[in-house]
């Protein structure tokens, strides 16, 4: 299904209204101090806005939207630092399943994700120097290995694990409470999100699809894109917060926003937000175009992630600076945005890694 930009702006307005109301500063603050995940909120968002099944095809209970719509949802959620499994459960997990091209598995897994009753997460990163391995005996697959930095792992019902098989990579599904799986919450730089370390010890899993090499590449592209859309949301909101502040804070008898040094910092933030917006829109368009050349799609998505994630860190750092002393306090919201921005920058390919990758792809480095 496709939507027009007018449809998307209407969707954005509805979401902004709802999320502003449901994810107020106190809620985010409580979560950052250790409050539990609000599963009722996720059910409510799933039921009222179809957020959980946004990109899941209609035949499996979803809205059948594309990544342009997902970008709107991710941007809006990041603006309010929504403490809910949108990126992991509604974007990455469905993408992981769909990229396996296994209709039977999709029919089994996706409807529960779409209606918000099942929170699914993707376990991608392995612990250093080891790789999760999947083996098959008499038609039963088992996985052993340790996955780290699993986003929303502590709240997951279903874990999608990427593991090495004899001839490549495979995608495997396992319930978070099954035998042989251990999910342990880890500390995280981003206080508005929870990550887990997941250990599988010869755990019985269900294989989803066949060889997952192409699937992994697609998952990678979507992850880079999704992180870019979130970075845009973080940057856009931080700019607003900072501009509002410098319009009211007075020193030396005038609002500090009238000082040219402050103006230039705000203008530089604005430039990065607008460039990020352009990049996310351009990347969404090419990702949703089934005829696009995959090498060009990867190039655009990589450029977008490299740009947007660094831009968001710049905007968050500058926004914090503009708040002066108050911005350095634990109580102020600045550091929550900075932590989110920095985490997004470092995950799914840091700008440094992505630039090296681009240099290799384009033959500028050997």
């Amino acid at each position: 299904m496709t939507s027009t930009s007018a449809d998307r702006e209407e969707f954005r307005a509805v979401l902004r209204g709802l999320l502003t109301q449901k994810s107020q500063h106190e809620t985010v603050r409580a979560f950052s101090e250790g409050a539990a995940y609000d599963r009722d909120l996720w059910s409510l968002l799933a039921n009222q806005t179809g957020l959980a099944g946004l990109i899941i095809p209609e035949q499996w209970g979803g809205q059948g939207m594309g990544l342009s719509e997902a970008a709107v949802a991710l941007e809006e959620a990041a603006r309010v630092l929504l403490c809910a499994p949108l990126l992991s459960g509604a974007v990455l997990a469905p993408t992981a399943v769909l990229a396996a091209h296994d209709d039977d598995a999709a029919a089994g897994l996706l409807p529960g994700i779409a209606d918000g009753t099942v929170i699914a997460v993707v376990a991608l990163d392995d612990e250093t120097d080891t790789e999760a391995v999947a083996t098959e005996t008499n038609g039963t697959w088992r996985v052993s290995g340790t996955k780290v930095r699993v986003l929303d792992g502590p709240v997951a019902d279903l874990v999608l694990v990427v593991a090495r098989t004899g001839d490549g990579h495979g995608l495997f599904a396992i319930d978070a409470t099954a035998d042989g799986i251990d999910v342990t919450q880890t500390t995280s730089l981003d206080l508005t999100r929870r990550y887990a370390r997941i250990t599988l010890d010869n755990a019985e899993v269900r294989r989803v699809g066949a060889d997952y090499t192409a699937g992994l590449a697609e998952l990678d592209r979507v992850a880079r894109f999704a992180a870019s859309a979130e970075s845009l949301g973080v940057a856009g909101r931080m700019l607003e917060i900072a501009v509002d502040y410098v319009k009211t804070r007075e020193q030396f008898g005038r609002v500090i926003g009238s000082f040219q040094a402050i103006k230039h910092m705000c203008a530089e933030m604005f430039v990065r937000v607008e460039c990020s917006r352009g990049a996310v829109a351009g990347a969404a368009e090419i990702l949703d175009d089934p005829t696009a050349d995959l090498a060009e799609v990867l190039d655009i998505v990589t450029v977008t992630k490299a740009y947007c994630s660094r831009a968001a860190v710049f905007v968050a750092e500058t926004g914090l600076q503009l708040h002066g002393g108050i911005g350095y306090t634990w109580e102020h919201v600045s550091h929550l945005y900075l932590r989110r921005a920095k985490t997004l920058e470092l995950t799914f390919g840091s700008p440094l890694e992505l630039r090296r990758e681009l240099a290799l792809v384009h033959g500028v480095a050997a």
């Binding site: 103006k263 240099a359 480095a365």
Partner: protein, 373 residues
């Protein structure tokens, strides 16, 4: 759109080789004038002008697409650009029937126009200009000085912005200005070239001492010259989208040229990283430009993205200039061509058409709503 571009290609396929055979060095002023005379016969030199005035009546998007094809064919740069793109549209909007007679001569290069806007004391702050025109009988008498006048050395005519009511200017800087159409041979006008850091002299200083300009040469209403001038400037705003596309292309070419297979040795890691940095920014700028064009196509007005593109394009292009010189290394020292010339020329991009600092002020004040001092 494709039909008109096909027609243009047909025109260029037919006429460009003939011209090139006649003018082996197409970079001279005379050669460029000759090319404009050929080019304008097809209605291509000023495609946005109405058909009855020798144009094609197309919109901004078509004009940008036409410029792309012209660049692709490597046509000489037409010398009458300011007349074709800036003065012409203003004459069409405000000119009397008599004044519109200039249009035909602008097309044929019988008249070459420049614009007298900036002054030594009025660069970024154009509205503070001080060149005065005082009414005396049937004439205005002009005294003052203009600077950074493009094509000032070659021009036969000038669109001159002057202050006609100094008292109005005290209340609002934009009030009390008028536009005069001036022949450059009028007694009392002295033109001196300005030599730039790259050695060229594309600009002039123009001095006015008791220059008498007939009152019939007033363009548009008296004391509303700011509005008249802004129409002119507004005509070219969409052009930044083309700058964005050109920079993206240039960065992609620089990356391709530095493929390890094309070079004796690989780039130093730091230079390779800087190059990919510029690549990232160049491609993002390209996406931004394409979206601006798409919005124009949908009939929307360009918004703050034109300031954003201006800022990023100028700074990124300077980084690319620097990289080009870094990569060329010592080989670039003994000649002021190629990378070294680009590097020097590029310093203008963050100064011309609003310095980076002024554009940042404009974004902060007009877009973000921060208070003026």
């Amino acid at each position: 759109m494709t039909e008109i571009l096909d027609e243009l290609r047909e025109f260029l396929d037919e006429h460009l080789p003939v011209f090139q055979a006649q003018w082996p060095d197409a970079s001279s002023w005379e050669a460029r004038c000759a090319w404009q005379r050929v080019f304008s016969t097809g209605g291509w030199a000023a495609p946005k002008w109405p058909v009855e005035n020798g144009g094609r009546g197309v919109g901004t998007l078509e004009q940008l697409a036409i410029e792309d094809v012209v660049a692709e064919y490597g046509c000489p740069v037409v010398p009458g650009m300011l007349g074709l793109k800036n003065v012409g549209p203003t004459l069409l909007a405000y000119g009397t029937d008599e004044q519109k007679k200039h249009l035909k001569n602008i097309l044929t290069t019988d008249e070459v126009w420049c614009q007298g806007f900036s002054e030594p004391g009025s660069g970024s702050d154009l509205a503070s200009l001080r060149t005065r025109a005082v009414r005396d009988g049937d004439d205005f008498v002009v005294n003052g000085q203009k600077i950074w006048t493009s094509n000032g050395m070659y021009a036969s005519h000038m669109e001159l912005l002057v202050r006609t009511d100094p008292e109005a200017g005290a209340k609002s800087k934009h009030a009390g200005m008028s536009v005069l159409l001036v022949e450059m041979t009028t007694p009392g006008i002295e033109v001196r070239p300005i030599r730039q850091i790259n050695g060229g002299a594309e600009f002039a200083e123009v001095f006015f001492t008791d220059v008498r300009v007939p009152a019939t040469q007033l363009l548009g209403p008296l004391n509303e010259g700011w509005k008249v001038t802004m129409t002119t400037l507004g005509h070219e705003r969409a052009g930044v989208a083309i700058f964005a596309a050109r920079l993206e292309k240039r960065v992609r070419e620089l990356v391709a040229e530095n493929n390890v297979n094309e070079r004796k040795e690989a780039l130093a890691p730091r230079v390779a990283e800087d190059l990919m940095d510029a690549y990232v920014d160049g491609r993002v700028l390209g996406m931004l430009g394409r979206q601006m064009l798409a919005r124009l196509r949908d009939g929307e007005q360009p918004g703050p993205e034109q300031s954003v593109i201006k800022l990023v394009q100028s700074e990124t292009s300077q980084r690319v200039d620097t990289l080009g010189l870094d990569i060329a290394g010592e080989e670039a020292f003994d000649k002021e061509v190629g990378a070294a010339r680009d590097y020097l020329s590029g310093r203008a991009s963050t100064i011309a058409a609003g310095t980076t600092q002024i554009v940042k002020n404009i974004i902060a004040e007009r877009v973000l709503g921060l208070p003026r001092a």
